[in-house]
């Protein structure tokens, strides 16, 4: 973002400028700020669950260690790697749109989508495994091991937190699909690409949530001092 190219059309109506803004700069700043404010609401939304996690983890630490050991370390690690890679391709896609490289933009967005779909696939396999082992809360919940009830609480948080996160990944994939389509049609120019930037912000946010979920859910047992 260092050298933002300013190619404002001086006379007439610049393409992509909505009627109620006075210029593209104002429009760009407004939409970026809107996205950041939206991300703040997302932080507060996930914050409620992270708070619940924190409270119960401090109350039932031993059960949390047991629950964390029931997680599949490699699935979680693979998904972390996948999402970090997708963040890279997303950042490159934003850069491509700034430079006006249409072909690179579309390809990078599609690669980001593929990473997202890969994440969801891994997550789906993982969910399926938990489901088969009756590790879904409710009347049929079953867990071989100590602290069965508190472990069910751990799984409640696991399903809620990763469930809402995966929902956000899914929404992100769909939006990126639209952006890729509009990018392929050539709607984004170096002077007018805030949609790409905003989707990038959203995608990085979704990745960041996972960066916190991964250690909190998968790695407790690996840091357990008595192991």
């Amino acid at each position: 973002m260092a050298e933002r190219e300013v190619e404002l059309v001086v006379e007439g109506h610049p393409p992509g400028l909505q009627h109620h803004f006075s210029d593209l700069e104002q429009q760009r700043e407004a939409s970026t700020m809107g996205m950041w404010v939206f991300l703040i609401t997302e932080v507060m939304f996930f914050g409620g669950m992270f708070l619940a996690y924190l409270v119960y983890r401090s109350m039932y630490y031993q059960a949390w260690v047991v629950g964390s050991e029931a997680m599949d370390f490699w699935f979680g690690t693979a998904n972390t790697a996948i999402l970090i890679c997708s963040s890279l391709t997303m950042a490159l896609a934003v850069r491509a749109s700034q430079l006006g490289h249409r072909r690179a933009l579309v390809i990078l967005l599609i690669v980001t989508m593929v990473f997202g779909i890969a994440f969801m696939t891994v997550k789906g396999v993982e969910y399926h495994g938990h489901w088969l082992k009756h590790e879904f809360p409710g009347p049929s919940f079953h867990f071989e091991g100590p602290y069965e009830q508190q472990v069910e609480m751990f799984f409640s948080l696991y399903w809620a937190m990763t469930g809402f996160h995966t929902l956000h990944v899914l929404i992100g994939i769909i939006i990126i699909g639209f952006v890729a389509y509009y990018g392929w049609r050539g709607e984004y120019t170096p002077a007018h690409h805030n949609t790409v930037e905003n989707v990038g912000l959203y995608w990085h946010f979704v990745d960041t949530v996972w960066i916190y979920l991964y250690p909190l859910l998968y790695l407790i047992s690996h840091s357990h001092p008595y192991k």
């Binding site: 109620h20 809107g34 119960y56 409640s156």
Partner: protein, 548 residues
């Protein structure tokens, strides 16, 4: 007085630009969306009011004779949910704020007009779900959805009601987001932060709360819904879950939500008092920053709703102290409003009557709030009618008064017509009398020990309850009157002209009703807000140049 000519009938403005139903339902004009909101929330105001009247009718006699106990639980639940989420929270921001924020700062529209329209549709969808809940048996959790009552013990439409409020919450979030970005990025040249009307400041503070608080309500309700449907038992005591955690999350939103409801009303009252006292608001900066202070402090006091719920004594003492602190910015506002009126040339038009009513009733509600912030007194009056009276003094005596105040004040701008002044003053008087008759006895009966949320009560409270019910019927008449004469004025009202109050503010410098893009050309602001000395320069001996 207003110097502009009576607008010629053929002048194009936002109301007569198009007429088709599509031009309304697909509009992105913030003024039309404001009117869509006005219709929607007026409908829900009367739905919620209907429940209130049924509650008061049941309480006319000590015996539970009109409705069953379960029905009564549903009545107060749906009264609360409808009034809070479908009337009070959208009232001033989504109707008056939507209409006025862009105009007051000299913008053509809100920053995100399509999101603005989407917000209205979200509220419409949420409202339809709520109506479905109401018509198919209702919900009886109390508006608070406390667990484990809501998750494990009730077989009513808890999930549907939670989804409705979840969606209504996102409507509120997007309105707040729109306002924040608009106020930051869309101000006209010269419209600095120090020149913004206080209505803008208070809506800005409100938006901050909406954006920070509402998502927490959303996740709390989502988790309640997941617990009921999928047994994801975050709050389930059988798994070691803590129902108090739900209360913490719920009140983290729902206490600030009180300020979502009252702060915009304070903005309305600031503007109206300045206009009808013909003075700049005394201590403008302090009133502006008090809004922000209330928004910030409002996030730090939630646990005073939980003093008897079993939180630690130390936490309770800290929350008690912080709750007292909120009184400081609130008092700053009240003192500065009275100081604004001091030596002003006051006129008692309808908006001013409402504003004066607001100051008195809000002060009553605020001072009784201090009783409740005090730990010992709170234990005595928790879950009594004292609480009910307290928050109705803030919500109805404060917020609804301010909403009516703003509606009358800006009605000439919205419709281009004057409402009938005599009827307006009469309605304001009826509402004030009816309100006090309804809710003052509730302070007395609550302090004497009458609990809330029961459909029966001890016979010694009957006199006070009859007074309260009588007041509620008077109040109902008071609210129906404006509905009638506002509609009447659309056709028969006197043509208002651009600035019937000779009021300050950019919204009064454009035509009434305004053109679609608000201003013929973007205004350039060179004066401070409330430059009444300049507007009244011909009438005063002391001549002063416009500031700036």
């Amino acid at each position: 007085m207003s110097t502009s000519a009576v607008p010629s009938p053929e002048r194009e403005h936002y109301l007569n630009k198009d007429y088709g139903i599509r031009s309304w339902l697909l509009t992105t004009d913030h003024k039309r969306i404001a009117l869509l909101y006005l219709m929607l929330i007026t409908f829900f105001f009367f739905v919620g009011g209907f429940f209130a009247l049924l509650i008061r009718l049941e309480l006319l006699t000590p015996a539970g004779d009109l409705v069953l106990a379960d029905t009564y639980n549903k009545l107060f639940t749906m009264h609360g949910q409808v009034m809070i989420f479908f009337f009070l929270i959208p009232a001033v921001p989504a109707v008056l704020g939507n209409f006025l924020v862009p105009m007051m700062i000299g913008a053509k529209d809100l920053a995100f007009p399509k999101i603005n329209l989407a917000s209205w549709y979200l509220l419409l969808i949420a409202g339809c779900l709520m109506l479905y809940v109401i018509l198919t048996g209702g919900v009886d959790t109390g508006w608070t959805f406390y667990v484990p009552l809501s998750t494990a013990f009730l077989n009513t439409h808890v999930v549907t009601a939670a989804i409705a409020i979840f969606i209504a919450g996102f409507s509120s979030i997007f309105t707040g987001l729109n306002f924040i970005v608009t106020i930051h990025r869309m101000r006209a040249p010269g419209m600095t932060w120090g020149r913004l009307p206080l209505f803008i400041w208070s809506n800005y503070a409100t938006s901050i709360i909406q954006v920070l608080g509402t998502p927490v309500l959303a996740i709390s309700l989502a988790l309640v819904g997941l617990e009921r449907t999928l047994h994801i038992g975050i709050f389930n005591p059988q798994l070691g879950g803590d129902p108090l955690l739900f209360q913490h999350l719920f009140w983290f939103y729902s206490h600030p939500a009180v300020y979502i409801m009252i702060l915009p009303g304070m903005g309305v009252v600031s503007d109206v008092i300045a206009c009808f006292s013909r003075k700049r608001v005394f201590g403008y900066e302090f009133v502006a920053l008090a809004s922000i202070a209330i928004a910030v402090l409002g996030f730090l006091v939630w646990a005073h709703h939980m003093f008897v719920a079993g939180i630690s004594l130390y936490a309770a003492m800290i929350f008690s102290f912080l709750s007292y602190l909120v009184a400081v910015p609130s008092a700053i506002k009240v003192f500065n409003w009275t100081a604004t009126m001091y030596k002003g040339s006051i006129s008692y038009d309808t908006p001013m009557l409402y504003a004066l009513g607001f100051i008195g009733l809000f002060t009553m509600g605020g001072l009784t709030g201090l009783f409740l912030a005090a730990l010992g007194v709170d234990v005595h009056v928790t879950d009594t009618y004292f609480i009910v009276a307290h928050f109705h003094y803030i919500m109805v005596g404060g917020m609804v008064m301010a909403y009516m105040c703003g509606l009358h004040f800006w009605w000439p701008k919205i419709s281009g017509r004057m409402y009938p002044e005599g009827w307006g003053r009469l309605a304001a008087l009826i509402i004030f009398v009816g309100f006090n008759l309804t809710f003052f006895p509730q302070f007395v009966m609550g302090y004497a020990g009458m609990p809330r949320r029961y459909w029966q009560y001890a016979p010694e409270f009957q006199v006070l309850n009859v007074l309260s019910t009588a007041g509620a019927t008077i109040l109902a008449v008071g609210y129906l009157l404006p509905m009638v004469y506002f509609l009447w004025s659309l056709r028969y009202g006197k043509i208002a002209g651009d600035n019937p109050w000779n009021a300050a503010g950019l919204e009064w410098m454009t035509t009434s009703p305004p053109p679609t893009f608000n201003f013929e050309e973007t205004p350039v602001v060179t004066w401070d807000a409330y430059n009444y000395d300049y507007l009244d320069r011909d009438k005063k001996d002391v001549k002063e140049a416009p500031v700036g």
